[in-house]
Each structure stands twice: as structure tokens, then as C-alpha cells.
């Protein structure tokens, strides 16, 4: 016999399966694992623990899968921005409804807005929030009505002349 053949080598190596750790080793391994985990945790600085917790939290949220759809996220953000801007700029729906329920008043205000020389902002205030009735004049107030501090878009010629 010259040397071990391949089959014999394989059989010899398989005998190494019988090399086993001391009895009870595998039973104690888990306890040892827990003990080392606790020790590691105690030795770790606070910032690292917090960082790991944050990473765990992000992984639970599955941020990676969210970032794989950047276009969708951008679209959602743009939509949210546009909607929030519109809500901020437009009047409440209650006012619009009030305007629609008073067609005569709104027509008069619109008519007033057409010839006004006031600034666009003031015009818009007049259009959306009618501040006076048709019966009221531009420079007189009834006793019951509270004082108003809004500039009227009334022609200058309507203002009373100063008397010294």
C-alpha cells in the first residue's frame, strides 16, 4: 500500500466529527452568550447605544424601501406643499358659501371692485368680505355698527372736503 487513497482520506477526516467539546458545553453556551451580551452593553458608551437604537428604529420603519421610491416621495411632498399654500391663501369655504347665497350683494361688490383705484389687496378684501350693505353710504355709519378700520375703495371725489 503506497499511500492513503482519496476514499480513505475522506473516511479519516470524517472521524474528526467525533471530536466533541466537554459535556455540557452546548447547554452553557447560550448562558455565556447572554452574559457577554450584557457585558458588551455595559461597556458601550451611551452615544453608541442611542445610535444603535436609532438605527434599529429606522430599520423597523423600513426607510430603505421608502427611499427606493424617491420620485413618489417628491411628488407627495410637492402636492402637500401646493395644497398647504392654497389653503393658506384662499378664503374659507364658509365665506364663499355666504357670497353665493347673497347674489345681489356680491354683484354690487364686484361692480365696485371693477372701478376701484385701491390696491389689489384691498380689492380682494372687498370682494371676499363684503363690509357694508347697499343701504349704507361710504362715509356714514349707523350707531349700532362697530367702527371699521378698513380702507374703503371709494373714489376720492366722495370724500368730504376739509374746512379750516
Amino acid at each position: 500500500m503506497d499511500e492513503f487513497n482519496e476514499n480513505e482520506i475522506a473516511k479519516l477526516l470524517r472521524l474528526k466529527r467525533h471530536e466533541q467539546p466537554p459535556p455540557g458545553y452546548f447547554e452553557n453556551f447560550l448562558h455565556e452568550f447572554h452574559r457577554r451580551q450584557r457585558d458588551e452593553l455595559l461597556c458601550e458608551p451611551l452615544w453608541r447605544i442611542l445610535l444603535e437604537r436609532a438605527q434599529d428604529f429606522m430599520l423597523r420603519l423600513n426607510v430603505r424601501s421608502l427611499t427606493s421610491y424617491p420620485a413618489a416621495i417628491t411628488a407627495v411632498l410637492v402636492c402637500a406643499a401646493v395644497i398647504s399654500l392654497k389653503i393658506y391663501q384662499e378664503p374659507g369655504t364658509a365665506n364663499v358659501a355666504a357670497l353665493q347665497s347673497q347674489p345681489a350683494l356680491s354683484t354690487a361688490v364686484n361692480a365696485e371692485g371693477e372701478w376701484t383705484l385701491a390696491s389689489p389687496v384691498a380689492t380682494r378684501i372687498f370682494r371676499t368680505q363684503p363690509l357694508r350693505n347697499l343701504n349704507e353710504s361710504a362715509h356714514t355709519h349707523r350707531a349700532a355698527t362697530p367702527p371699521r378700520y378698513v380702507l374703503d375703495s371709494v373714489p376720492v371725489s366722495y370724500e368730504p372736503t376739509f374746512r379750516f
Binding site: 500500500m1 492513503f4 472521524l15 471530536e19 466533541q20 452546548f26 447560550l30 457577554r36 458588551e40
Partner: protein, 198 residues
């Protein structure tokens, strides 16, 4: 050695990922004997194996939240074990001593052992501890990568395909490493064949 059911592993992994630490404990209990054999036969040192195994499971626990199931847990944990052991062996270099586990008594009833003692005179003449020492010395003369392949194929009984997945090399590479390692082992064990009693 039978490969564990992957469905069961997947459930345990999912539970671990959702924060159930006891599920990971079950994975540790399940894979400790298998991974112990892998690491021990690559290092031939019980204490190093114990430390490495603790580090392997610790690393796996930290990384398991990022495990997406592209491979089975079996392949994933074996990859971690092999890579960490290879890194350890590179650092350890040639300065090491054998710290071998005892051969359990069941070897006396092992069919292959009985065959070997019946047909091979060196095995018959050498006592068990001498046979064990010679085998481990021969293994340690192999390069780390060759020893990893020999351990997984001959001792752990893994198929070539599984080894190639774990090592992330082609099956051809696995086969060529095995062929080369077997030739080297034949040479290293030649002295034992000639002089079995040392």
C-alpha cells in the same frame, strides 16, 4: 449532516427582526453544534473556537435586522462564521498550539472507523489520540482556504453548491481546492502511514 428546514429559520429570523430575542436564542441553540464543528476544525483549538463562536453570534445578532433573506439563514450564518474564522486565522498566523477536544467513545462503534481499522494497518496500529494528533497536524498544514473547504465537505458533509454559496466562489473553484487539498493531505499523512506509532 442534515441541513435544517429553512421555513422554520425564516420564521425565527422574522421574529428576531421584530424584536423577539428568544427567537434568536433558538437559532443560537440550533446552530451552535454545527458552527462549533466548522470553526473548531478550522482552528484546531477549543478556546479560540469558543471565543470566535461567541463573536459570530454576537455579530449575527447585530446584523440580523439587515438580513433580507436573499440567501437562507443557514448560508448567511455559515458565511459569517467562515469569514470571521479566516480573518482570525490570518491574524493568528503560525503561532498557535493545538487544543483538541476529546474523541467521544462513540467512535468505537463508528462503521467507518471499524472499516479503517480492519483494512488500514496504520489506523489499526496507532492509538486514537495519535491518530487524532496526526490528522489535526495534517489539516493545519493546509492553507486556511483549503482547510475551510475540506472541513465543510469532508467533515460537515456539505455539497459543493452550498460551499460555493458560503464562500462566494464558483463550484469549480470548490472542486479544485478540494482536489488540491486531498493531494496535500495524502502527502502529509504519508509519514503517519509509514510510522503510525510516532
Amino acid at each position: 449532516m442534515e441541513k435544517p428546514k429553512t421555513d422554520e429559520d425564516q420564521q425565527l429570523v422574522a421574529r428576531t427582526q421584530s424584536g423577539d430575542a428568544s427567537a434568536f436564542d433558538q437559532l443560537v441553540v440550533k446552530y451552535t453544534p454545527r458552527l462549533y464543528g466548522l470553526v473548531y476544525n478550522m482552528t484546531s483549538n477549543h478556546e479560540d473556537t469558543n471565543d470566535l463562536l461567541q463573536d459570530i453570534f454576537s455579530k449575527a445578532y447585530k446584523a440580523i435586522r439587515g438580513f433580507r433573506g436573499k440567501s437562507s439563514f443557514y448560508t448567511w450564518i455559515h458565511s459569517i462564521a467562515v469569514n470571521m474564522t479566516l480573518n482570525f486565522l490570518k491574524k493568528r498566523g503560525r503561532r498557535f498550539h493545538l487544543s483538541l477536544d476529546d474523541v467521544d467513545a462513540s467512535i468505537q462503534n463508528d462503521k467507518e472507523f471499524l472499516e479503517l481499522t480492519a483494512t488500514s494497518s496504520p489506523v489499526r496500529e496507532a492509538d486514537l489520540s495519535e491518530l487524532q494528533r496526526r490528522l489535526n497536524e495534517a489539516m493545519m498544514k493546509l492553507s486556511d482556504e483549503h482547510r475551510a473547504v475540506v472541513t465543510m465537505f469532508h467533515i460537515q458533509g456539505m455539497p459543493h453548491a452550498e460551499i460555493s454559496k458560503i464562500l462566494r466562489v464558483s463550484e469549480g473553484t470548490v472542486r479544485s481546492r478540494l482536489f488540491y487539498a486531498n493531494r496535500q493531505l495524502q502527502n502529509y499523512l504519508d509519514e503517519f502511514r509509514k510510522n503510525p506509532v510516532g
